[in-house]
Symmetry: C2
Subunit: 214 residues, 2 copies
């Protein structure tokens, strides 16, 4: 517990200021995951983190800004796709990492935020957009490598293929609410790899052409 | 406009009572699509439908029950998958119908409801569960026919395959917010057909086995 009324040392990275920040952001995420957005309040976050309300308001200004900062901290470390040397195992490893993320606190927070009126907030939408912009190039590397190896058509739309891999996982998180387990992640990887190899994500398709393989 | 203060004729199916019901349910859907769940109120629905608040309360009891009934009416007519004689065109036709639904009022309502605190309501969750239970068997027929033709492995998990087809469309509706157009629906169909033909949805897989074809 960090308390605002304790004496302030000289500010330094990783020091008291940083501990206050971490405590408040963690409390914000835990509150939204446990109680949803409608019941989220600076008062409850202050109580949970042990940081005074005034300090929170001075630092973040509003509940919306605080929620945006908390979501950014949650998603700050991207899932880097492993290079296993083969398309299907690359996809399996990545899908498995995403599945783990979605079954942990991140999944509970995402469901609470996306499945709530909070998604309309500018700060939340900003994090969502930033995530898509920053993460897609990372995961698309899986398909770039497969193209270089000649495993899939050279004009494969990597963005479409990645979305196809992860969409079933988010579908379970947000809609069907069925378990997002390792077997399911591997199935998504198997299906996406088979579709990519068959040229289903090749850009040459105009929406009606039959499947083509290299 | 139907007005509660107008003289009541003898009740009959399709008569005044049915017109009031239709007007109120349509107004409920339009209100939730336009303004979201947080701002939804019986007062606004009464104004939009031209039906008196008292009549609405007498008939549906609560905003939650009314929203549940409105969602049921929206989804009452299932999308029946066309039998085109081939797997990929069956899937393309079905995905295209879903895409049309999601880009119309149904999509706006779904986004407003799933992306809001309304999804936690029992009445809303009941409709969601009922939809999954009633619709899946219909769409799974596409894969049952393909199995009979010998186009895909006999132990294909049709539920998984259908989810794989529609998940990218819902992913765009709820997460990436990119256009859900005909070309995208056809791409989802192409990918799902290729994956199914390659045996990616075969039940024999234990999560690590390589792809198998018949």
């Amino acid at each position: 517990m960090t308390h605002d009324s304790s004496p302030a040392p000289i500010p330094r990275p990783g020091g008291r200021s940083s501990r206050i920040r971490d405590a408040v952001l963690a409390a914000t995420l835990a509150e939204v995951a446990d109680r949803g957005y409608t019941e989220l309040s600076i008062g409850a976050i202050a109580e949970r983190s042990g940081v005074h309300k005034t300090t929170i308001y001075r630092r973040w200004g509003s509940l919306e800004a605080l929620l945006g900062a908390a979501l950014e901290s949650l998603t700050a470390t991207p899932i880097a796709p492993a290079d296993t040397g083969a398309l299907e195992s690359d996809l399996g490893s990545y899908a498995s990492d995403i599945a783990q993320m979605l079954t942990g606190e991140t999944g509970r927070v995402l469901r609470a935020v996306i499945g709530s009126d909070a998604r309309r907030l500018d700060a939340v939408d900003g994090v969502r957009r930033e995530l898509f912009a920053s993460r897609r190039p990372l995961s698309e590397q899986i398909f770039v490598r497969a193209q270089r190896r000649g495993d899939i058509p050279h004009d494969t739309d990597a963005t479409a293929a990645v979305d196809f891999l992860v969409a079933p996982l988010y579908f379970r998180l947000l809609l069907s609410e069925e378990p997002i387990d390792e077997a399911f992640a591997r199935q998504a990887a198997r299906a996406t790899a088979a579709a990519a190899r068959a040229g289903a994500f090749a850009r040459r398709h105009d929406g009606s052409a039959p499947c083509a393989t290299r």
